[in-house]
């Protein structure tokens, strides 16, 4: 078993590179759909992560993704917001008996419908911040909102897919 800290760092690096080198190149429906799959790594951070650390991780991750697209500040702002609301979101969505120690916010530990709600809410918050900061105004409100909606769909779909790719079915039974 690899150290969870090390595993999370590797995962974050992998997803930043995936976003910067592959996903940003996708040109779906003339830029209408622009998934940000790297937030998968942020959402996978352990439940026990201190809030302060979470904020700084969000800041650094956002900054790294921005470096790929010359949009310094855009992803940074969205990620810091996500890191700020993520613990609150987890608290709202907590199961009645609370989280058990060592649980991950994943399909493996908390089930499909829980993960879908969590991922959809978190992604929607992140994407709204991202695209409205990108537009820097409410001028193209409808356009930006459609972009948020469809990109959220795409990101959540990819994240659920990623969950099943990371955890094989047998692994799910044993743990």
């Amino acid at each position: 078993m690899i150290n969870p800290i090390f595993r999370n760092i590797i995962r974050i690096l992998f997803f930043i590179l995936l976003q910067g080198l592959v996903v940003n190149r996708l040109d779906l429906f003339q830029g209408m759909v622009l998934p940000s799959v790297y937030i998968f790594a942020l959402l996978m951070l352990p439940l026990e992560t201190p809030r302060l650390l979470l904020l700084f991780i969000g800041f650094v991750v956002g900054m790294s993704v921005d470096a790929f697209t010359n949009t310094l500040g855009m992803h940074t702002s969205a990620c810091v917001l996500l890191a700020f609301v993520q613990p609150a979101l987890l608290r709202i969505l907590a199961p009645r008996e609370g989280y058990e120690f060592g649980q991950n916010p994943s399909i493996q530990h908390l089930g499909f419908s829980w993960y879908l709600t969590f991922a959809a809410l978190a992604t929607f918050i992140h994407h709204s911040a991202l695209f409205f900061v990108e537009a820097f105004s409410f001028d193209f409100f409808g356009h930006t909102l459609t972009k948020v909606f469809f990109s959220t769909l795409a990101t959540v779909f990819l994240m659920v897919l990623g969950q099943y790719l990371i955890f094989s079915p047998d692994q799910r039974k044993t743990s």
Partner: protein
């Protein structure tokens, strides 16, 4: 005093959140400024070399397109060679004189990253200050305007293309010589807008639009695109023109950086204070 400390401690998460957001927005506003150079961007060495590796992969798939482009350009150049011209006046003596002085120099570069689908698009090239690229040089591809160099590192440079809302350039109609401004207000990377063409000008769909050569970035007469739509709003003096760009930003791969050898001279002259 202790109460203030306790208060800060109680809200420290929120305060850190606010501070980080402020930094993010400060960076955002600073980076949106046209000439402001930033330390973290795609001309950064690390990101640049990552992009270069990826470009090496994806270019392999586009080799046949590159070949077509090159052979077309070759054919064009071949047809301009001396042996293809007929000698009209036998016996004239050729004298090398100094009537011509080179004004523009071209430097080939490769596009290693290119965004078309964001609101602030950028292009990264694999040539930097080592090979003589400097900020504010023009970039052209296949005889058409692409953009202007924004940031330069040792081995890479980032380009602000026409399809960036901060880009402007002076242009003119090939027919009639009316001047206007080029700007990108659409979200469509195939089109741009022309502003400030007066209504008395004779404009037709399909007319060519070229550079003026007023600015020190581009030589005169470089093709920008052709007019696609003309709109004459009531009560205004100018047309709204939609321009179909000559450069296909989806397929951009090889470009040339224009270096104006007389830029200093021109700028010095223009900056002389009037007596």
């Amino acid at each position: 005093m202790r109460n203030i400390g306790r208060l800060i401690y109680r809200y420290h998460i929120f305060l850190v959140f606010l501070a980080l957001q402020l930094i993010a927005f400060a960076l955002l506003v600073k980076n949106n400024n046209y000439q402001e150079s930033v330390f973290i961007n795609t001309s950064n060495h690390l990101i640049g070399s990552l992009y270069e590796k990826r470009a090496a992969f994806s270019d392999y798939l586009k080799l046949s397109d590159f070949n077509d482009e090159l052979s077309a350009e070759n054919a064009q150049l071949k047809s301009k060679q001396l042996e293809n011209f007929m000698d009209l006046e036998n016996g004239t003596i050729v004298v090398n004189d100094t009537l011509f002085v080179q004004r523009y120099e071209y430097l080939p570069a490769k596009v290693i990253n290119n965004s078309v689908n964001t609101r602030n698009n950028f292009i990264t090239l694999n040539k930097g200050s080592v090979t003589g690229v400097k900020p504010e040089m023009g970039v052209v591809a296949n005889g058409a305007m692409v953009g202007i160099i924004k940031d330069v590192s040792k081995h890479f440079s980032s380009v602000m293309p026409i399809i960036n809302p901060n880009f402007t350039a002076s242009i003119k109609l090939k027919k009639g010589n009316d001047f206007g401004m080029l700007a990108w207000k659409d979200k469509d990377p195939r089109y741009a807008q022309i502003l400030e063409i007066p209504k008395h000008a004779n404009v037709q769909i399909g007319d060519s639009v070229i550079t003026t050569g007023f600015s020190s970035f581009f030589p005169e007469g470089l093709l920008v695109g052709t007019i696609a739509e003309i709109d004459a709003p009531e009560g205004e003096n100018f047309y709204n023109i939609r321009l179909l760009l000559k450069t296909d930003f989806y397929k951009l791969s090889y470009v040339k950086v224009v270096s104006n050898l007389m830029k200093e001279e021109q700028l010095n002259l223009e900056n002389v204070e009037q007596p």
